[in-house]
Symmetry: C2
Subunit: 220 residues, 2 copies
Amino acid sequence: MNRLPQIKIQGTLYNRTYDALKKSILNLDLVPGSSITEEELSAQLGVSRTPVRSAVQKLMFEGLIKTVPGKGAIVSELTLEQLKKLFDVRESLECLTVKLLASVESRPDFSKIDQILSDQTVLSKNIELNFSKFLREDAEFHKELAVLTENEFLVSQLEHVRDNCARYLNAVPFSERVGRVIGFHADILQAIKEGNPEKAQRMMAAHIIDTKESIVPYTK
Amino acid sequence: MNRLPQIKIQGTLYNRTYDALKKSILNLDLVPGSSITEEELSAQLGVSRTPVRSAVQKLMFEGLIKTVPGKGAIVSELTLEQLKKLFDVRESLECLTVKLLASVESRPDFSKIDQILSDQTVLSKNIELNFSKFLREDAEFHKELAVLTENEFLVSQLEHVRDNCARYLNAVPFSERVGRVIGFHADILQAIKEGNPEKAQRMMAAHIIDTKESIVPYTK
DNA sequence: TAAATTTTAATTGTATACATTTTTTGTTTT
DNA sequence: AAAACAAAAAATGTATACAATTAAAATTTA
């Protein structure tokens, strides 16, 4: 029997601090534009400044936090202009992902991603109850595609871009877009399995643009 | 008269440590695969472990260093497989850059990039003497293109990818490719100025692939 | 001798004290 | 009252001591 992946009960303080902070930012608990000091976080989380510093630096690197010269760190803003820039990069990298997958000779193992798609379909039946879970599965779908390319640069860069997108998506109340998402995902997956890179890219581009358009009305 | 950019005599220890380390890695002074401990670096650079730690973590985020579970940090390897993955991402982002520039209505200020191109042309006359400077100007050309898009995500992601590429380029002895580089750069710039996104992308893709191919023979 | 176990050494993780820089506040001066 | 300056407070930067984890070495046991 295969070894199941260990559940991380508690890693280093630095990692747990990072996870907690990131979650708060993506949740919008830490509102964009608000400033955060290391000391404050340290007191609030009950750890020393050392792990807080590491976590803040990593988030800075990922673009979720920005430093103002002598002022400290502030949570990045979510403007319409930023949204456009973010999605330009995302579209490019997501399309590369599916192009690579549709072009590869050796057929990758699609079992996990098939599972995600079917889970999403089930969730969509009661979307009022499961919207946040639906969003998580959505992120998983895109992540798994990247993982299947076995290109670690692509995986990590796309993850950063998607994390930034997640903040916008969490700001959009409920989405009538859910049905279309599943349709797009199915089409994308089919195009990949057919070994049709052009179609896969076209479908993915349409999907990303559709997502962007659904966010626009809620952005200043 | 415009304010000239200040030369950074000395920033924080953390930043200077980062710069020094990064330079050593890109130079291949720190050979790929070699392990580096914080204490060792600390002693060698004459600073405490605190700034070293920050610098190492940042380099880790950028992909120049990898952590082996309990072993410490090692400088990332430069394999043929990695090269291909790196250049897949680079091609995608560089093409996005020129597409954006060629599609924008308001004509950006090309004065700086024109200057870089002409500097490169001069340098190419005595390439034996100026090869490393030529490489730096080359990086500047690509960076300035990204900057002109005003897309900060694109700028930073491309910078990380290019830094990784720089290590490969420094491993290639002397390149007969120099003349072609300038030709490609001129063509790319012209296509952008003509407002022809398709041509700009085609030229850029050809340029990036040409660069990759010139590295391949020197890669294991 | 080979495997297992304990012990030691080395390395990273964390807390804390202090230094330095920057911002803000308060005072003085014109 | 406005501007300039000085003092205080707050924030990040840095060094260092200690804790915890992990790898390597030495020892024991079968």
